[in-house]
C-alpha cells in the first residue's frame, strides 16, 4: 500500500475508535448520558414521556427506546452528516458551536507550538555551538527549569503579572468586542493581542524541552566525520551550520512534534479555560461543568479530528523531508 494511503487509513481508524468509544459511553455506562438526560428533562418541565424521548433523541442523536442496532445507525449516520447533537447548556447545535470555535483553537495552539519550537531550537543550537561556555551552562539550567513548570502555572503567573498588575494584555476573550470581525486591521490586531498571553504561556513552558533536545542532537552531530570532511573541503560556515548541522539535528525532533501536537490540543482545554478563550477546549470544559454530554462528546470528537488531521499533515511533510519514513518495517516475524 502506498504510504500516504496507509497514514490516511490510520488517521481514519483513530477517528473510528473515538467515535465508537463515545457511542459506547453514551449507551452502556451505568448512569449513562441517556438515563441522565432523561432524568434531567423530566425534572425540568411537565413533559410527557413521549416528549422527553423525542427531546433526548434530538440532543443525543439516538432514540432511547430504539434497539441498539438502530441507535448505532442513527448515531453514526448523523455524525457522518456532521450533526453532533444539541447542546443542553447553550441550547444550540453542537456542530455550529464547535465549528466556530475550532479555528480559534487551531490558530492559538499552532502559533504556540511554532513560537516555542522556533525559540527553542535556536536557543538549543546556540547552546550547542557554545558548548561548555557560561551561556551554555546558564541556559541549560534555565531550560530545565522552564521544562519543569507546567504551562498552566505560567499562564496564571502571566495573568497575574502582565494581565492584572501591569495591565498590558487582556486576560479573557478572543478579540475586542468593539471591533467588527472581518479582514480589518483593528480586528486582526486585537485577535493577536488577545492570543498573546495564552500562546506565550504554552511557548514558555515548551521551549526548554526543545532547546535541550536540539542541543543534544546538535552536539552529537558536531562530532560526526562528515562535518569534518565538509570543513576540510572549505565549505562556507553558513552552509555547514544550516545544511549540515541544523537540518540533521532538527529532523529527529520532528517525531517529538507528533507527541507535542496531541499534547498541545489537550493543553488547550486548560489554557482556554484559564483565559476564557472560546475555543473547543473551553467548550469541552463547559460541557463537563454543566454535565452537558452532547457538548462534551462533540468537543472530544472535534479535538480528536483536529489532532489527527494535524498529525497526518505533519507526517506527510516528514515523509517528504526524510525518505526513510516512507519505508515500512519489513522484518520477518518470529
Amino acid at each position: 500500500m502506498h504510504w500516504v494511503l496507509k497514514r490516511a487509513a490510520r488517521a481514519g481508524f483513530t477517528v473510528f475508535l473515538v467515535v465508537h468509544f463515545t457511542f459506547l459511553l453514551v449507551h452502556f455506562l451505568p448512569g449513562s448520558p441517556m438515563d441522565y438526560l432523561q432524568a434531567q428533562l423530566s425534572r425540568q418541565q411537565g413533559l410527557s414521556e413521549g416528549e422527553i424521548e423525542a427531546m433526548a433523541a434530538v440532543y443525543l442523536n439516538m432514540h432511547p427506546e430504539a434497539s441498539i442496532g438502530e441507535q448505532y445507525v442513527d448515531y453514526m449516520s448523523s455524525l457522518l452528516t456532521g450533526d453532533l447533537g444539541t447542546s443542553i447548556y447553550f441550547n444550540e447545535s453542537v456542530a455550529e458551536l464547535l465549528g466556530t470555535a475550532i479555528p480559534w483553537t487551531v490558530f492559538l495552539m499552532l502559533n504556540a507550538i511554532a513560537i516555542s519550537f522556533a525559540i527553542g531550537i535556536s536557543l538549543g543550537a546556540l547552546m550547542a555551538y557554545l558548548e561548555g561556555s557560561r551561556f551554555d551552562n546558564v541556559m541549560t539550567v534555565v531550560a530545565i527549569v522552564s521544562n519543569s513548570i507546567p504551562y498552566y502555572i505560567i499562564a496564571i503567573l502571566l495573568v497575574y503579572l502582565l494581565g492584572h498588575q501591569l495591565d498590558l494584555f487582556p486576560v479573557t476573550g478572543r478579540y475586542d468586542d468593539r471591533t467588527t470581525p472581518g479582514l480589518n486591521v483593528p480586528f486582526l490586531s486585537s485577535v493577536v493581542y488577545h492570543a498573546t498571553l495564552p500562546a506565550l504561556s504554552w511557548a514558555f513552558a515548551g521551549l526548554g524541552g526543545w532547546a535541550l533536545a536540539m542541543r543534544a542532537n546538535s552536539i552529537s552531530i558536531l562530532g560526526e566525520d562528515y562535518l569534518r570532511v565538509g570543513r576540510l573541503r572549505g565549505l562556507p560556515t553558513r552552509r555547514l551550520t544550516l545544511r549540515y548541522v541544523a537540518r540533521n539535528a532538527v529532523l529527529p525532533l520532528y517525531t517529538n512534534m507528533m507527541v507535542v501536537i496531541g499534547y498541545a490540543f489537550g493543553g488547550a482545554v486548560v489554557l482556554e479555560t484559564i483565559f476564557v478563550y472560546r475555543g473547543v477546549g473551553y467548550y469541552l470544559f463547559r460541557g463537563i461543568e454543566a454535565r452537558d454530554f452532547p457538548l462534551m462528546m462533540g468537543a472530544f470528537i472535534v479535538i480528536t479530528i483536529a489532532v489527527v488531521t494535524a498529525l497526518f499533515l505533519a507526517e506527510l511533510t516528514y515523509g517528504k523531508l526524510d525518505p526513510r519514513a516512507q519505508e515500512g518495517g519489513t522484518d520477518e516475524s518470529f
Binding site: 530545565i144 519543569s148 507527541v259 496531541g262 482545554v269 486548560v270 469541552l284 472530544f300 489532532v307 516475524s333
Partner: protein, 343 residues
C-alpha cells in the same frame, strides 16, 4: 557486557571461561541487580543533575511518608486568616482565607500524589514495555497489528480523553486516578521501547536462544528486558512527570472529585475564590502549591536528564562493578535517544 546470565557458565566454552568455572544463582542475581539497578543509580548520582534530582525526590518521598505523621492535617483557624509566609512560627508557609496552614495542606497532598504517580508510572511502564517489547521482538503481523493500535491511541489527545474518563468514572482512589491518567501515556512508551527493541532482536545470543527453541516470553524477559532496563527507568520518570502535570491540571479545573487535599485544589481555591490574583496578601496561598508542583517535576526532570548518560554503553560498563573493564578511559558525549522530555 556479559551475556552469560541466561545460561549456566559451562567450562566447555573455551572463549568465555568464567574465572570460577561455575556461577551460582546468587552470583547471577547480584550481577543482574548490579547491571540493571545499581550501575544506573551510580551513573545518575555521578552527575550534578542526578544528585540534585535524587535529593529532591528523596525529600518528596520523606514528605509523603513521614510528613503526615509529623504535621497535623490542616484545620480552620479563624483567628489567623491569610497569615503571610514566615510570619508565624506556627504557620511557616502562612495560612489561607479560612486559616488553614498551607504547609500542612502541601504536605498532606503529597501522599496521594505519590500514590498517583506510582500507580500511573507502573501502569504506563508495564503496559508500554510489554506491548513495545512484544511488537519489536515478534515483528511481522503481530508488530503491525500492535503498532496500528498504538499509533491510533497515540493520536487521541490525552488530556481530553482523561477528562472525559475522569468525569464518567469519578475516581476517588489515588491509585485509580493514577492509572486513568496513565492511559494515554503508555502508547508513546510502547513506540519508543519498540524502536529500542529492533536492534536487539537480531543480536547473536538472542538468535542462539531462539534456535534452541526457548520460548518467546523467556527470551523477552531474561535476555532482552535487562538491556532495556535503563530506558524503562527513564520512561517511568517521564511518565511520572506527565502524571503530576495532568493531575494537578485536572484538580485545578475541578474535573476530578476532591476527597484528598491536592496542590491543584489549593491552587483552584486560591485562584478562583481566594482572590490571590488581585491582592499581594493572598499571593502566597497560590505560590505555595505552585512551588510544590514545580519542585517535584524539577526533581523528576533532573533525574531523567542525568539518566540520559545511561544510553552510552561505555559509561555504563565503567560503573558496573561485576563486569567493569579498565580500557574505557575516554569520556564520550552520551548518545541521546529521541529525547523523551519534550512535551
Amino acid at each position: 557486557m556479559s551475556h552469560s546470565d541466561g545460561t549456566s557458565g559451562g567450562d566447555d566454552f573455551p572463549f568465555q571461561t568464567p574465572t570460577t568455572g561455575e556461577t551460582t544463582r546468587e552470583e547471577r542475581w547480584s550481577r543482574t541487580i548490579d547491571r540493571t539497578i545499581l550501575a544506573p543509580m551510580r551513573i545518575i548520582l555521578s552527575d550534578w543533575r542526578g544528585k540534585v534530582g535524587v535529593t529532591i525526590l528523596a525529600l518528596y518521598l520523606f514528605m509523603g511518608i513521614a510528613g503526615p505523621y509529623l504535621i497535623s492535617p490542616p484545620e480552620t483557624d479563624t483567628a489567623h486568616t491569610l497569615v503571610g509566609p514566615f510570619e508565624m512560627w506556627q504557620y511557616p508557609l502562612g495560612t489561607d482565607s479560612s486559616g488553614r496552614s498551607l504547609l500542612a495542606d502541601v504536605v498532606h497532598a503529597t501522599p496521594p500524589m505519590l500514590k498517583m504517580v506510582f500507580a500511573g508510572g507502573v501502569f504506563a511502564v508495564t503496559v508500554g514495555s510489554i506491548v513495545g517489547m512484544v511488537a519489536g521482538y515478534k515483528g511481522g503481523r503481530v508488530d503491525q497489528a500492535l503498532m496500528v493500535i498504538t499509533d491510533s491511541l497515540m493520536a487521541i489527545p490525552g488530556l481530553p480523553l482523561i477528562i472525559v474518563l475522569a468525569f464518567l468514572f469519578e475516581p476517588r482512589n489515588p491509585y485509580l486516578v493514577g492509572v486513568i491518567l496513565a492511559i494515554p501515556a503508555w502508547a508513546v512508551l510502547a513506540r519508543s521501547i519498540r524502536s529500542q527493541m529492533l536492534p536487539l532482536r537480531n543480536v547473536e545470543y538472542v538468535e542462539a536462544n531462539r534456535l534452541m527453541g526457548i520460548s518467546t516470553w523467556k527470551i523477552i524477559l531474561k535476555d532482552i528486558a535487562p538491556n532495556l532496563m535503563p530506558y524503562i527507568l527513564v520512561s517511568f520518570v517521564s511518565a511520572s512527570r506527565g502524571i503530576v502535570f495532568d493531575s494537578v491540571a485536572l484538580y485545578f479545573l475541578g474535573v476530578l472529585p476532591t476527597t484528598d487535599p491536592n496542590w491543584g485544589v489549593t491552587m483552584d481555591t486560591a485562584y478562583s475564590s481566594g482572590g490571590a490574583l488581585y491582592s499581594w496578601g493572598a499571593a502566597h496561598w497560590l505560590i505555595a502549591p505552585m512551588l510544590a508542583v514545580v519542585f517535584l517535576s524539577l526533581g523528576l526532570i533532573l533525574v531523567a536528564q542525568a539518566a540520559d548518560k545511561l544510553f552510552n554503553p561505555r559509561i555504563r560498563a565503567r560503573h558496573q562493578k561485576t563486569t567493569a573493564s579498565e580500557d574505557d578511559e575516554g569520556e564520550h558525549e552520551p548518545q541521546t535517544p529521541a529525547n523523551a522530555n519534550v512535551r
